[in-house]
Amino acid sequence: MEKVGNLSKKLGFSVLVFFICLFLFSWPILSITNKGHPEIIFLYLFLVWLIIIILIFIMSRSYRNLSSNEGRTDKGAP
């Protein structure tokens, strides 16, 4: 689990997830599900969207330690 956490902190991992997301919402993947009745593509898009949100949530949790070490708060607010 620790290894997975470390992995998700790396920029390369974010880039990989970025391209996977791009791929999941692009041709030709869409053309596979985009056949027949509209409810299939509707279901596909929203389900994948939800899964990606969950994945981002997990990634953001792993950034917590990182940000506690180097994160900055702007104290310039009045």
Partner: protein, 1323 residues
Amino acid sequence: MFSPLTVITVVCLYVGFLFFIALLVERKSAAGINIGNNPVIYSLSLAVYCTAWTYYGSVGKAATSGMLFLTIYLGPTISIVLWWTVMRKMVRIKNIYRITSIADFISARYNKSRSLAAIVTIVAVTGITPYIALQLKAIISTFGIITAQANVASNPSFNLDVGPIVVILMIVFTIIFGVRRLDPTERHQGMVVALAVECLVKLFAFVAAGIFVTYFLFDGFNDIFRQLPDNFFSNAIETGENKTSFYLTWTTYIILAMSAIMFLPRQFHVSVIENFDENHIRTAMWLFPLYMLLINLFVFPIAMGGLLKGYPIQEADTFVLGLPLHFGQKWLSLLVFMGGFSAATGMMMISSMTMATMITNHLLLPFIGWVKRLDFLKRYLLQCRWAAVAIYILIGYWFERLVGESLMLVNMGMISFAAVLQFAPSLIGGLFWKQGNKIGAISGLIAGFAIWVYTLLFPEFVRSGWLSDSLLADGPWRITFLRPEHLFGISGMDPLSHAVFWTMFFNIGLYVLGSLYFERSSEEQSLSEEFINVLEIGTVPVRQISREAFINISDKRSEIEKLLCQYFPEEKAIAITEQCLRTLQINGKKKISIIELTELHNEVEKILAGSIGASAAYHAIHKGFIYSSIEERELSKVYAAILADLKLTPSELKKKIDYYQEKETLLTHQAEELEEKIKERDREIIERKRTEEKLIASEAKYKTVTESSLTGIYIHQNGKYVFVNDQFAEMHGYRTEELIGKEYLFLIHQDERELVLSRVKKRMSGDKIPQRYEVRRVKKGGQLMWCETIATLIQYENKPAIMGNIIDITERKITETALKESEEKYRTLIENLNIGVYRNTVGPQGFFIQANPAMLKIFGYDFFEDFRKISVSDLYQQPEERALFVEEILKKGFVKDKELRMRKKDGTPIWASVTASIRYDENGDIKWIDGVLEDITERKHLEDQLRHAQKMEAIGTLAGGIAHDFNNVLTAIIGYGSLLKDEIGQDIHYRKYLDYILSAADRAAALIRSLLAFSRKQKLSIEPLDLNSIIMRLKSLLLRIIEENIELKIVLSPEVLTIMADAGQIEQILMNLASNARDAMPTGGILTIETQCVELAVEALEKHNYIKPGEYALISVSDTGTGMDENTKQRIFEPFFTTKEVGKGTGLGLAMIYGIVKQHNGYVNVYSEPKKGTTVKIYLPNIKAEVKEPGYAAIAPPLKGGTETILIAEDDKEVRSLIINLLEGQGYKIIEAIDGDDAVSKFIENKDRIQFLLLDVIMPKKDGRKVLEEITKIRPDIKMIFMSGYPADFVRSRGIVEEGLTIISKPISPEELFRKIRETLDQ
């Protein structure tokens, strides 16, 4: 419905509520409680992205284009994945440089370029104006919808134009919320919280409308999808256009949305400028996409619901409001309207506020800088911003009025997205690419913007009627190559994708080219480093330099206040100045040093940048603060002191500076190299760590493998075991501890120790010897075991050692030995087999792969090398039969006892019996044919002979049977003929006929005898005879038989050949053969009769196993005649087979010879070839006995009759009558009986009278033997003769009649009958 006043009231109340919240938040903030410093509020504020377009336009887009609307929200979700790096960088840079807008950000990166900031502002203003128009259009349209019926109902002539009201309200709201005062941080906590509330309201309203449509107008999602006709969309994300083009549009939308979420000025503002804490980004990364998912969940159902309810697709933009309204949900529709209002106002507020900041900071202030007369305006910066807000919103309203009607909402939104996409190359490049510079950014941005105007804005102007249609259709000046929507002739792309492609092509292209071509200034280099490495930048301690404080702080204070007063009210300016002094802790001082003065200037610049932007502040400070001559001198002194510390002359200083500059360059290079080396070292360390980990893992693995190994493992060093595993010890019957330190050779069998020792020595010296070998080892109890060993030279504790791996192969060795023996046994067996064993390839030709010696011998080959060269088909008499054989074996997989006509190497035909099967490999492919082959030529020959013999036997049996019945007939004919001849006396006329009859009957009798001779049923007078004598005696007779032109040669054996034979039969043989020879030599020739004594030994027995080995007298009769062919030869012994003309031969001559020879226990063979003559060889057993000269028949005494009473028992009436007549004619008294029983009863009746019995052998009821048995019981001495149709020896041989009793064979000649009866009575 609602009256306009009601709606406006509600709107005002709502806005008042928001203002109250904002005010509360700001008051709390002043008290140190930052409500806005909250990740959820930060995330919700980002939802300003969901504008009226989402609220209304998405539904319209879903109705016309299926799921395409979703790309606007999927794009941000995708780009958000990278926010932790990208957004964090931007936020941190913002904090360092007090960035106020995206224009400020870009300009700060590229040497605080004012021109670049101005260009960015122009692009943003131009690009975002349509978006403002979009929001206004939404509010105005929906206001019209929600108040429409009320207007008509209350006052049909009343037609409220709500546009100006909305515009005024928006200007007021924006100024109140966002531009109420100048804020050095440009952060508006109250506005952000109000925005978050608005975002919640619009989400709640839209979801409520969605639930109403989905679950109240329909029965849920499934119901809506079920009601959709199958062909409603050809598929859900296709518009029916070209499919490729559609996916291109889809991708373009996603790309635009990905950039819009970060580079739209309002998004940049809420996500970067308004960010309190970098950690808020983490929450926003998932919460904001979740918000977008929820607000979009019901878009498609609402769109489809509206269409299914029969509303026209043109009104789809208003379904979300129209559906609740039309279905009587008045309050819900008001909620929906307020949601839309929130979406639109939120966007307009943030957008116009940020645009106003950009306009004033980057357009107005530089302009004021140029036009000195407008300098006073600097003091009215806040008011200028208000004006900017008002102008900006008014331009938006003007644009809405101008082109709004010609466009769908979504198109206007996408045009704005495409405009902000132009910021992406310079911004992203600025964050990640060191080489990116100002010229590249400016040229790329200008080019991208120009193409955007030309390819997107102009076409919209054309559609709105501002420009001529010919621009789109024919291009400018009819240059079709430059048509805005088909630039450079590109077609097949939708206008948006087309514009995105060309803008990015030129923007990125020029940005990269410009950056590569032009050098960066040193400041730019420094900035680029700071921007790129912003996440890695730490705090660098600065050496304090103390200087004399001589500058009057009050002068400087007033100077600063004067500068600030250009931008802020006086109080504000004083407060900022005070704050700067406080920050530097010099507020209590009267005098400050020159160093403190420069730091004060920096602080003021930073504060000022927060209000007017980094670039404007930079230029304002450098312009506003002029050092006095004393200050300059002091500053020079500071530098001089620094130089003095260095103890250098000016020329040396120059040199030093050059040197240090050079050194710096070198150091930079070195630093880069060092950095690279550090990275390399890091990589090495990582690699080493990995190696160590691997080593540890490997050792652990090695230990596990060694301990759990099924093979024995040992290491010996200096002749002693230093390591053995448990398995090794166990294999030898020891414990591990017992073996450590022991000499390794003691476990090796003594016979092999020398060999092992030499191997170890060679291995240790590095010689290449095989690793694997087999050796015998000794167990603890002395038992031997065979082990396979794999030995390797290794380093053990830094010294060479031998590591070995052993497997106990004793069982395998035993098995191998057994296998070898078995193989040897079977090899010997096969090689010694008389049957051929072979393996050959499949195919019409076929070649031998293996064959045993017997196989070679069968086909007459000596060496397998010769045999393998021939094809299998060569061994067939008819090579095409090979193909038939292969076909059969392929079909069945095997053949069994297949008889084949083959031939030897020399061509000799042979018969072979083959049993073979096909062998397959593991893939199921045919490998070869394995088979056994037996030479059955001799067996076939014997079978032929046997068949022939059986045939002859059958024919003989048939002939014998016929002869029996014929003899009865002939007995009657000859008997009665003889009686008649006696009766008629000398009557010549009848006597002649009678002689013909008797003559014919004699010929018939002769034929019957021949048949009986063939069937070996004739009576023989066997006695020892000299064969040569018989031949010599017969010579004269033979000479009479053959013609004169035939020479008779008799070559007799010098030794006496004694045979047991009937002389007459032997003579008959020779006469028949001579007769045949004569007929075969019509033109003459030589007839040779030869005798010799031959020994038929084992060889003959092998060839003719029907022959008994022993000494034989051979009679060889050869002629030089025509000979005969094989077919004739096969049939010559068959009765009635003849090649002679009809009437010239009976066909019984050779059949008789065959029968006679067989009856004499001899053998006959014929050798003949056409035109080469024939040789008949007759083998008769040669015996050692005294020869008896053949007697000559004595002169028969005259016939005598008698008076005795004779009982005649004969079932054949004619024969019985004949005999009675004959015997009564001789004076005998006759009692006749018709069968066996009758004979016995007649004898009993006349036992005293009957003196002689004449009994037929075979009779009905009781045969002659039984009749005799019963009669002899009454009269043991009774005399009798048997009569039989069969020859006497035949009858005796079958035990029918005992030896010693007289038998007379039919046909009975009267003379013989009388003589035999008389002789018996007289004995």
